[in-house]
Symmetry: C2
Subunit: 111 residues, 2 copies
DNA sequence: TTGACACGACACTGCTTGGTGTCTTATTAT
DNA sequence: ATAATAAGACACCAAGCAGTGTCGTGTCAA
């Protein structure tokens, strides 16, 4: 089956770099969908800021939004994260060997 | 065995967000170690810029540097990437189920 | 010893970004 | 009908960042 790629304006790595946006993803992972104002209460920043973060997540394809009444509900779409998973998998082959030794070197040169 | 955490000034997600820095990691994955000027030739930007990127990678603990003669050689340390791997693993449980349906929704609302 | 090379350290610049506040519109509840 | 709520659309600002160029210093080679 062929899945046409979502027009992904924003780099997934970039979208995920911000801790606020990662928190948003985590919140959306627990529930079906959440409106903006309910997401906002979890943060100290204002509504506009959260909305912007969600816009960025949407650009990266990590989130979908749909209008219901006067509120816009957001829903998680984790599929773009697969890209990151594949990328990091390449480096995971280094985990097992040589890692302890390298870590020791890091400890030693700690300034 | 207890591994003391490297004083990790910089967020790993942040360090990895830049495509140039990801390319640097890939280059260092192939070889033991590489001096700055050899890394620089792979990019269009100047030496100073590459050096700054490496500094950021170092802050995140993704890279080690050691001076040899007049050159400073950089070496990959992929261990901090484990953090990302663990994080993305949480979302990987969504891969298998419901994903095709969600993707279809995305396709439909494509504007 | 002289010159070329590798690099760090700065100072500087344009652009992006993460946040704010305000205004307006649509929707819901009273 | 009116008031309150939810949110988009701006304009705006401070801070950080990615790049540049330059200068000074240590190192290697001829």
């Amino acid at each position: 089956m062929i899945l046409a790629k979502k027009s992904q304006t924003r780099d997934v790595y970039d979208a995920v770099a911000d801790p606020t946006r990662r928190e948003l993803l985590r919140l959306l992972a627990d529930v079906e969908e959440l409106p903006l104002h309910q997401l906002t209460v979890h943060f100290q920043m204002g509504r506009t800021a959260v909305s912007k973060h969600l816009a960025i997540l949407k650009e990266a394809g990590l989130v979908t939004d749909r209008k219901v009444g006067r509120e816009t509900r957001y829903r998680l779409n984790p599929t773009p994260l697969k890209q990151i998973q594949d990328w990091v998998a390449f480096y995971s082959k280094f985990w097992s060997t040589n890692m302890l030794r390298l870590n020791q070197l890091l400890e030693e040169e700690e300034e």
